[in-house]
Symmetry: C2
Amino acid sequence: MTECKEQALAAKEASRQTALLTTSEKNAALQTVAQEVINREKDILAANDRDIAAGRQNGLSDDLLDRLRLTRERLQSMSEGLQSLADLPDPVAAAPETWTRNDGLVIENRRVPLGVIAMVYEARPNVTVDAAGLCLKAGNAALLRGSSSATRSNEALVAAMRAGLKASGLPETTVQLIDPEKRDSVRELGQMRGLVDVIIPRGGPELIQTVIRQSTVPVIETGVGNCHLYIEKSADRDTATSIAVDAKTDRPSVCNAVETIIADREWTEKYGAELIEALLAAGVTIKGDEQMQKLNSDVQPATADDWATEYLAPTVALGTVSDTAAAIAHVRQYGTSHSEAIVTENGEAASAFQAQIDAASVYHNASTRFTDGAEFGYGAEIGISTQKLHARGPLGLGALTTNKYVVAGRGHVKGAKV
Amino acid sequence: MTECKEQALAAKEASRQTALLTTSEKNAALQTVAQEVINREKDILAANDRDIAAGRQNGLSDDLLDRLRLTRERLQSMSEGLQSLADLPDPVAAAPETWTRNDGLVIENRRVPLGVIAMVYEARPNVTVDAAGLCLKAGNAALLRGSSSATRSNEALVAAMRAGLKASGLPETTVQLIDPEKRDSVRELGQMRGLVDVIIPRGGPELIQTVIRQSTVPVIETGVGNCHLYIEKSADRDTATSIAVDAKTDRPSVCNAVETIIADREWTEKYGAELIEALLAAGVTIKGDEQMQKLNSDVQPATADDWATEYLAPTVALGTVSDTAAAIAHVRQYGTSHSEAIVTENGEAASAFQAQIDAASVYHNASTRFTDGAEFGYGAEIGISTQKLHARGPLGLGALTTNKYVVAGRGHVKGAKV
């Protein structure tokens, strides 16, 4: 048996115990785990230093090194994140939907944990702690497969969390790190249908597509966002400009940032130059279509690829469309069903866009940057689903549960009584 | 482009129209489609006769021929099924969950259709009509891949339904039959992630596993049920016997029938002989463990395989266990997470079994035969899910929908206002 299979079996066993924990037992464990992350600060930061040094040697970019880096403040914030999970409602403690048939059979549709959740993610070590905490709060066991560049940090974080689990009387195998050096472990996790209940990839499109292609375990697709902002003919100039700049520049490296802005032709004639000025002033590189290029010589020509590119950088594709139908067609062609927005003073255009665009979140007169578990009031999120099965949009604790029918009779049979 | 891909693209286009239909438009279409199935009775029965004749020539079993056969009464019942869908609540018309943030941003979590649903199923032509009706009621387009033995029947049924769709002003491509002669079509459907939103196999374990293995499209696993009945020490003799006979014999060929009965040793000493008599009297073949064999010479010896076998026939594996923990361990080892039952007068044993068994439905003092959309009050079902992602148990109309966040602001931005 491979090590990965052994870990999955241990996780299944642990999940049977965590599924039966009371809310207060889980909350107490989260507090203890949060405290252990702080207690072991020295070990964790030292391990992280080794990852950073190795990353430098391996030529990781400054951006990746920054994502990898842990500081006292970041550890504090991870620990506080665990504590705040304790304050959130327990998704499996909600009162079940219950109904009684005329013949007295009582049917209860209960929320229960999913069981074993595998996470496959890239460099950021905070995902290790966030994901483990969310899984535990919902009563699940977690198999965490981070990237090899963060191995030492992840090991130290998991060691701290396991010490907290042990001190709380929970199985340490509730949280396990999968060795990223075993190249086949992602495929192996994805093939353990029946043992692993869901696999959630978080990272770049290549990682996500690999997991989808290789897995028979149900996948929740997260994150790739080629998000659009459509500025309709009647859009208010300041509202459109303000949302465009925010959605592009507030945090360009995340999936809910806008990658393409398409504006109505008439609107562009009137206000396009100002929109371009505002974007340039905010440090945005603009790839524009012909009409946009004419408005400012700093607008670079867009190629066909630009409309399909998730830049994750302060660059935007800027085009014009003739009407709302053309905007919807454009978004349908290039969108990734993540977050799409329309700016308009015309309620009918807003309704049409919001009804006809098939995405996790569709905004009217607001920035796409709000697609986020905390912003939506879920307190925390394990990712943003861009698929339709199970759940779409920011995945809160509820997405880490499933249902179970618990039925009580008094000798009820379906056919004639014998 | 393959025919299958063309059909999927047409289905996506159709689904964009059906997603926007009002409840009354969908209900009117269902009524018209139901009428067309009756209007074309002659054509449909003639087509079915040709399938039956071909099936006989190909040596189909009597059981399969019976599943394949359509009669005036069966058509009537299919048509009534469509009409009754019109009476069910529209799953996408429910009032959305809506909340307003302190800053005035309004977030609405709306139910919307899944989009394009592919069904892959075996011989029974009634699935063609049931599935198409359910998909339409929830606002989806359906791609139906039945078995080649039912092609003529399915073609005639789909032709009738499409005539009804056309008469209702809906795209005929809302319901399309995938040519089962194209052997690769199941794989092709399963690889159209982004175009096909879910693929639902209904049939034997081999069909289901093939679809799971071949698909990147999210799958809903349905139906395989190696269901158990556990008779606990304190179980009432008559209640246990009556449920055992019902769960095994009411309809042995379906997935919610019991395949293994495990009884407490002490209970078996007292009542095992009577249980065996009752099962034999009901025409059941019994494969028993040693203790059961000693009670009646008509009990055949069970082999290791029997505990894992879904007979789908009037045969049962009959074993003994020492206590509830052993029963739970047995069900965990051999169960398929479909329907499991305990008979006991001990509330604690019932609670432990129902909490610790991880299945779609867990019964106390009731037959497993109740796992069914109609019995649970859903009016109709598209299958019984045995997976945890999306939905478990009988899949009603709600399972054919997903959610979408529709957000309205007044120029809301996440960062500082520009």
